[in-house]
Amino acid sequence: MYSIFYPKKKTIFKLFLFSFFQLSVLLSQVSYSSSLISNFATSKNNFNYFENYYDLNLLYNNWNLWIEMEYSNPPALGYGRSGMRNMRLEYSGNKANLKIGDLYEFWGNGLVLNSLDDKSIDFNNGIKGIYLNIPYAFLEMDFLIGKQAINRSSNRIPGFNERIHNYRSDFNILGNRLKLNLDNIDISLHYLSAKQNDRTVDDSLSVFDHEIIGLNLNYFSNYFGFLFELVSKDNNGNGLFSDINIYLSDFLFTDFTTFGIGYKNYFFSNRSPSNRWDIVDDKSGYIPFQQMPTVFMAHNSILISRLTHVIDYNDEVGYNAYIKMNMLRNSTIMLSYSLLSRNSEWKMNENFEWFSESNGSSNITRLFLPTKDAFFNPAEEIYLEIDGYDNKDIFYYKLAFSKMNSVVDIFENQWLMNDKNNLYRSSFSYELKDAISVPLSLLIKLTERNSINIAFEYQKLKKGFKTLSSNTNNSQFFSNFTKDFQFNRYIGIGFSSSPKWSINLGIDYTDTEERIVLEKDRFSNKIEDLLSPIFDPSLTWINFESSYNLNQNYRLSISYGSKRGGVYCSNGICRYIQPFENGFNFEVIALF
């Protein structure tokens, strides 16, 4: 044993020992923290995945190293990967801050630059490069240079898949920001240039240059708040975002009231309904690191969040007006109204070819306010919410009402000339969505540590096609469902015992499905079979979930059952997530 460890030459041993001490001294000044998330799922409909993400942060004086490792085979969404996902070295000093590696930056309100890694929709527009920030008195200067490879999905090219992106674009990026920080006001100027390299639908190489210049202004006081951002892209597209808040203490019968209005007017590309979402052949328009405010309510209700309005960053005008009132102790009432639409109407000629006022160029008359006209793809929502604790903190409630309607897609809008040489709309066809939702959430504390959660959500949904035929001259509605309306309900019942464990049973059921979905096979699970006398297993998704905190460093979660799929949106980007049928999901989170 001794002979194995003890080197024959003492000098080598001393050198080894000295190196070891050096390393010890060095490491004694290094702090670290790391975490591991492991997620395994298997289901009857082959939505199987095994994801592992390990994050390590090392800190040495003013230096910080962040490494994210990934082993996924396959991940829930995207390409499988074994190895390093992200790495960044940072230096934070009084005179400068430097970042080298994978950069995720947010300038202003995101109209020029907003890079993020959102695993829930497999969207990563992080930049591999160098970022330098120099603060000097009330000024800040930022310099950015790097490369970016973004994967997205397009059904215009082969290999379209619900889980894996099939189109890659490479960007070379250069950016600068100059920011002035005063007491209540921030002003910044942003500049970003990007060279885009990718391929067109016929597989030929495409190179496109983008240039964005932006001005951002923020002002806040105790009574008033104001956000404003204006950007110009490639000298022909532009975007504007603004948000104004007024704060009133003891207003009428309230403790505190906020009046607010958010406004946006984005116009980066004028596209016909048939190439509205084309990223392969049309490179004009916004670029993927412009992730801008949507000016539409973000919801955490299960049923409302499924009613997604896909934001058109290229061409959309809209506002969101709201009042938030603090009534009793921690009880708040919110009333919100949102309306969005496109800036122009696209029509079809006698040959069923799309045309707009400007034939696709950006020189059109833009709307100042959105319209409810169906041919402008409007989306509208009225939302009312009340939430709060009772006086003894043993009861929390949240009740909301949402009425949302939108025109999803326009397929036909033909205008012809009549005998008197006047244009008239001869036929049209578009898909609409109209819903009323009422989510209710209750929390009741039984003892200091034990509580029950109850959730009930109700939704009446109308979805289908509205058409006008020149033959009959009558508009008709064709429902996507086997009935005129779909009634969705969600029931959640949970129990928790702080700080250790919680269980939850979620029952998501409906009375009809979309015709195309009905053809798909369902795999009912044991709980669904057990409750089949009450809930039709072919239209019900039941899931049982349990979480256990071993201690502050380890958390385990296990779930069994089914989860309904659908379009899932995050950061204004939407993606279809397939259902999870009759399976297990096991998750471990560990901190080291």
Binding site: Y2, F5, F13, L17, L23, S24, L27, S28, Y32, S33, S34, I37, N57, N64, W66, E68, S92, G93, Y104, E105, F106, N109, N114, D117, P135, F138, N181, D183, N184, D186, F220, D243, N245, D255, F256, T257, T258, Q291, P293, T294, F296, A298, N300, N326, N330, T332, Y396, S441, L443, E448, R449, N450, S496, S498, P499, Q552, R555, S570, N571, G572
Partner: protein, 162 residues
């Protein structure tokens, strides 16, 4: 003999690692100049709470954070509520906090960079840091009653006997 030395040194090296936090972490407030975490730590312990306007458990937890900050502020304790709202809901953060009348300081982390640095994985995530910059307690999620454990930890770090 060497193996004993080796084991001892390995143990010493392992012990020398600590979960200290980067005091130079730059926080981006809702308004005004960026501020370093050490500015707060120089006054006393800090509880960093990661939250979002769309996170229902975070909203249920926040009144307690407000209570704790008001209660222990005189002893140098601060709550830093770091919102991870992205551009979709970012403009709602200030109106939410103002309407709820919370008094703790609010910061923005729309790309979850500070969240990642502090090994945040779930919402809400709470990280309690003592004056020296050492992480003394972490907690993921919020179950009703967790606020009692949180207050216990705050009292410990402030050296107050319950």
């Amino acid at each position: 003999m060497f193996s004993i030395k080796f084991l001892f040194l390995s143990f010493a090296v392992t012990l020398s690692f600590s979960q200290n936090i980067d005091k130079n972490i730059i926080l981006n407030p809702l308004m005004g100049k960026k501020i370093k975490l050490e500015n707060y730590l120089s006054n006393g312990p800090v509880l960093i709470n990661f939250w979002a306007t769309w996170c229902a458990p975070c909203i249920k937890e926040m009144p307690y954070l407000d209570q704790f900050e008001k209660k222990y502020k005189d002893r140098g304790f601060s709550v830093l509520a770091v919102s991870v709202d992205n551009q979709k809901s970012l403009s709602q953060v200030r109106s939410f906090i103002k309407t709820k009348k919370f008094s703790f300081d609010i910061f923005l982390d729309p790309n979850m960079q500070i969240f990642k640095k502090l090994n945040g994985n779930l919402m809400p995530t709470n990280v309690l840091i003592d004056k020296s910059g050492k992480v003394v307690w972490r907690h993921y999620g919020y179950l009703p009653g967790d606020e009692m454990k949180m207050e216990e930890q705050i009292l410990n770090v402030l050296n107050i006997l319950p």
